[in-house]
């Protein structure tokens, strides 16, 4: 840490006074002088400065005069000290700054006309501001452009060596993919080792580049900034809810830019705890799905076995007739609905209202069921809060973070950046527990590799170690002594040796982790897909809650058990009641009071709670013929669930399958009606990110072809089914939600809700806990040697991102099984060799590739691709409590062919 303010949130820096332009200013000791000056509202030009990282001091623009020094000093690298007398303006400083600009200009090529940064270029601004008019001895560098990377082009002729890209990559993102290299007589920025750039491709270097030295390959030479319409919206890929600018020209998405840019370089370092404004590869380069040619532009209706394009009116007439017919013939429970959590809150709300009022069924579910529901239900059960209790700021300022079962840098890269900041700036201790060599484990202070599928046992061990080592918070457990005794008793049954054998962690390790967690003032457990998408997810989250509870971390500010979500609006889907157990606002569906409230508001009877069905149940009922009509909104169960779920059989048995999607998905190909929906760029609405922040989604362009926003289609459908909905915009729906759930939007801020363990630890805890700690105590000996995981890649998100040409260029489907090099050697395999992959469910032939992040004894295949259909090797375990199907892990044989 260089000159930035002392960033330990627990220590208040001493206050000093100094004089700036004759005014006395109070500042924190040790802060960069530049920050102090910019705090007073004065903006001194600086080209290599950005508040997110330490000052570098290469541009020579931020010169100020300090009393007692003859020459001007660089304010960014100078530390503010008490009693300094600083002058920031004056002819001499202006001339000195002008000289600095001239220095940069003199080796800059004359290519404003072709440069993409033109109009968004700091060098241009500075030259103009300082009135540079007559340069002497300008020369050209003639460095060839580096176009080897699939995403970024490096044109080092334009580089001013400000190192912002290098600094942001190294300091903020901790990826360190760029470096300076002296080449051809000039200091150039090159990818590490002058190899083709191969990094996480977050593009933050592109965002901070003040000139056009780093250019976006996807929008290269297309348009200039003044031609483009810029819309602030929320990213559609993961639950982080990053804000971004969608830049469009007419019907075309040109590029995506981030709030992080050289344009807003002034800020307080501590503000980055709420996010540094950057994006990840998906957000920045995954926009091509929006204006993809494969978008649906016309409703499709099945006619004699083929999907035929039909006008909207005809389609809707036919569709409504079929729905009315089925409802009349078989009753409302012959209809079910599935929705994706990529829809906006308004649409999710409308969806469940449509299902419950217009169709009169409670057979509905959303993609939250694939995992997040485990966390929601467990958290609600334990602490009464159906979402994570920690936000980004908590994560950043935590002193200890246990990352368990989460490849956070891949699934939620921007949340990972928060943890990175916690590590780098706040010196947090990070414990990673995963059965893969994740990127986070490379940065963590305590990285541990555990045996595949042993997450539950690890938690058992941690709880046991905490109790054994007496790390419990006496006051907290004292309040619920009975519960604690029960827990103690339950844990006593566990044998540490067995746990050690199961997990591959030494017993001291459990103690160490428990100690770190218990003794830190602010400690957070972050669990994600490795917990909630696997077997026993619900119980495992509860165990984590137990761990947090006994160490006194439950309900304490800045502490807690957190999760991240895969889809942008999973939290919103839960909050909007797009699940059979919930009504909007997370009221239980079977709670008569809540039912009464909504029945009154909607002016209709709600279907009885007994008819509820979740995803797995719906699919089963489709198979048994109980459900005759299925309304699928954006979901794609056929491509997501393994063959053992017999989704195809179920869908084929339906009398009416309606798919509403921007793309012709696998499921849509089976449908009787396919309704073209808009993407998030073409509609207004809100997303609720994993922290509970409600974020605005804004319309950036007109709907493509004949496609319509989902809420529009649903409103038309409901009205045709006899409802009286008069929503004319997403705003109307929003006002209805506001009336029903007062304070939900809360100006986009997560409502601070301190979870309480009161109810949890008092009622029936003892019986529950016994079961919980026995469940995983039984040891399971794998019958096959390799653990096959399916999971997310950094470049992809669900099945949506495969429609984005850019992301596919960066990370195409290699159709290869990723394995550890040691395993490959052990099996005597070369890269690309074919193997036979066998599980209990069947076998297939697949090529292999070496992957450093795959641990020995495991293999990995990305869940985004079904070619070859590795997913069909998976068995599905359905969680008894939450109905979450888990199918991401499997024991397999790998045999060379």
């Amino acid at each position: 840490m260089g000159l930035k303010p002392a960033t330990n949130p627990d220590v208040e820096a001493t206050s000093i006074e100094l004089s700036i332009d004759g005014k006395t200013v109070t500042a924190k000791d040790g802060v960069s002088l530049y920050d102090v000056i910019s705090m007073t509202g004065k903006i001194i030009p600086a080209m290599c400065y950005h508040y997110t990282f330490d000052p570098f001091g290469s541009c020579g623009m931020c010169l100020v005069m300090q009393e007692g020094k003859k020459a001007p000093v660089r304010s960014c690298t100078a530390k503010a000290a008490a009693g300094m007398v600083i002058r920031t303006e004056g002819e001499d400083l202006f001339l000195a700054r002008k000289k600095a600009v001239e220095k940069h200009l003199s080796v800059h090529p004359l290519d404003c006309p072709v440069c993409d940064a033109d109009g968004h270029c700091e060098l241009q601004d500075m030259a103009f501001q300082h009135g540079v008019t007559n340069l002497a001895n300008a020369k050209q560098k003639f460095i060839p452009e580096d176009t080897r990377s699939p995403v970024l082009d490096f044109n080092m002729n334009r580089c001013i060596a400000c190192a912002e890209c290098i600094n942001v990559c190294k300091d903020v993102l901790m990826i360190d993919a760029l470096q300076f290299m002296k080449k051809g007589g000039f200091n150039q920025v090159v990818p590490k080792g002058d190899l083709p750039l191969n990094c996480e491709f977050c593009g933050d270097c592109l965002a901070v580049c003040p000139v056009g030295a780093i250019t976006n390959k996807f929008s290269k030479y297309l348009y200039k900034p003044w031609q483009i319409k810029k819309t602030t919206t929320t990213c559609n890929y993961c639950g982080d809810g990053c804000q971004m600018y969608l830049e469009t020209k007419d019907e075309e998405v040109v590029r995506v830019t981030s709030p992080l840019s050289w344009k807003n370089k002034w800020g307080d370092r501590s503000d980055t705890a709420k996010g540094h404004g950057g994006l990840c590869v998906r957000g920045r380069f995954g926009f091509e799905s929006l204006d993809s040619q494969s978008r649906l532009v016309q409703p499709l209706v099945r006619e004699s076995g083929r999907l035929v394009e039909k006008p909207w009116l005809e389609t809707m007439h036919g569709l409504v007739d079929r729905f009315v017919e089925i409802k009349g013939k078989y009753g409302p429970d012959a209809i079910a609905g599935l929705v994706t959590a990529r829809c906006t809150n308004e649409e999710l709300y409308l969806f469940q209202k449509l299902m419950r009022t217009a169709f009169g069924t409670n057979q509905l579910d959303s993609s939250v069921r694939y995992g997040h529901m485990n966390f929601v239900l467990a958290s609600q059960h334990a602490v009464g809060l159906g979402r994570t209790s920690n936000d980004w700021e908590d994560l950043t300022k935590a002193k200890a973070i246990i990352v368990i079962g989460s490849n956070i840098t891949e699934t939620n890269p921007l949340t990972a950046v928060r943890i990175k900041e916690a590590v780098r700036v706040y010196r947090a201790q990070v414990v990673t527990l995963d059965s893969a060599i994740t990127n986070m484990s490379k940065l963590a202070s305590h990285p541990f590799l555990i045996k595949p599928g042993s997450e539950g046992a690890v938690i058992d061990g941690l709880v046991k170690a905490t109790i054994d080592l007496d790390l419990v918070d006496e006051t907290v457990v004292g309040e619920h002594f009975q519960a604690f005794t029960a827990l103690k008793k339950a844990v006593a049954n566990l044998s540490m040796d067995q746990l050690t054998a199961q997990t591959g962690l030494a017993s001291e390790v459990f103690g160490e982790i428990a100690r770190i967690f218990a003794e830190s003032p602010r400690s957070i457990i972050l669990c994600a897909e490795g917990i909630v998408r696997r077997t026993n997810g619900y119980q495992n989250v509860l165990k984590l809650m137990d761990l947090a509870w006994i160490t006194g971390k439950l309900g304490r500010p800045g502490c807690g058990v957190s999760t991240v979500t895969e889809e942008p609006n999973e939290q919103g889907a839960v909050d909007m009641g797009a699940a059979s157990e919930f009504l909007p606002g997370q009221g239980r569906y079977d709670d008569p009071e809540v039912r009464e409230h909504f029945a009154k508001a909607w002016g209709t009877e709600l279907p009885p709670p007994s008819s509820r069905a979740h995803l797995v149940e719906i699919l089963k009922r489709c198979r048994t013929g109980q459900i005759k009509a299925l309304y699928i909104l954006g979901e794609n169960p056929l491509a997501t669930l393994p063959a053992s779920m017999e989704v195809r059989a179920g869908l084929e048995r339906l009398e009416l399958l309606v798919v509403q999607d921007p793309f012709l998905t696998d499921t849509a190909k089976l449908a009787h009606f396919v309704l073209p929906a808009c993407t998030y760029a073409e509609k207004d609405g809100t997303f609720t990110n994993f922290e509970g922040r409600v974020l605005r989604v804004r319309q950036a362009m007109d709907s493509r072809g004949e496609s319509l926003p989902d809420w529009h289609i649903m409103t038309a459908l409901a009205n045709a089914m006899g409802c009286q909905w008069d929503y004319e915009s997403a705003n109307d729906i929003q006002s209805e939600i506001m009336k029903l759930l007062p304070g939900y939007y809360n100006l986009g801020q997560p409502r601070k809700a301190l979870p309480t363990s009161e109810r949890y630890s008092s009622k029936g805890y003892a019986t529950e806990v016994m079961e919980r700690y026995q469940a995983t105590a039984e040891s399971k000996t794998p019958t096959r040697p390799f653990a096959l995981f399916m999971g997310q890649l950094l470049m992809h998100s669900g099945k949506l991102s495969v429609q984005a040409a850019g992301l596919i260029t960066i990370a195409p489907n290699t159709s290869k099984l990723r394995m550890n090099v040691r395993d490959l050697e052990g099996l005597g395999l070369q890269e690309g060799a074919k193997v036979r992959l066998t599980s209990d469910r069947g076998s297939l032939q697949i090529a292999v590739q070496a992957d450093q992040s795959v641990a020995p004894g495991t293999c990995f295949f990305p869940e985004h691709f079904n070619e070859p259909p590795v997913k069909d090797l998976m068995t599905v375990t359905v969680d008894a409590t939450t109905g979450v199907p888990s199918f991401k892990q499997m024991w397999v044989n790998v045999e060379p062919v």
């Binding site: 072709v114 200039k224 003044w226």
Partner: protein
Amino acid sequence: MSVMALTKKILQAALFYEIWDAMKVTFRHMLHRPMTFQYPREHRTIPDAHRGALGLLRYDDGQERCVGCDLCEAACPSHCIKVISAEDVTRPLQRYASEFYIDITKCVFCGYCVEACPVNALAMTKMYEYSTHDKRSLLFDKNRLYDIGERHLEDGKKYLYAHNQEKNVEESREYRYYFPQSVAKATQSAPKHLK
């Protein structure tokens, strides 16, 4: 008023003196050559500075001048220009306008686009007779604009000289840098990898 003057005034009034005065002027004009000319058969001589229809120009070696910088679009007060640019695959780093539209029905003929153009790819010509029955044909696309530029190349050049956009001398066609594409010769030669 004297009697004389009064008499004169009465006389003038009675004889409609002012009409004779005016008729004198009128009749004198009968001896002049007519000021008008018969338009479709005779044409005005259009001055070099005239701001007529826009055309895109090429360099003498046939290379397109336009580098697709979109500055004309920014400069246009009536937003009638649309440029879509791309990278020329045959010449690395070279940007060019893959599509170029001028909606001549919206154009106000102010000449700002010419003033803005950093490579003098645009010029106004003396062409003014392009009325049509089909309004759609007045959206000039890239081909049409280059066609106009070709047919009115001399006019275009004269326009640029007249408006101080380019000097009619050899030096004006030299560029210090390789970029934008040089016409005759660059004062600093390009390195091998760019040739």
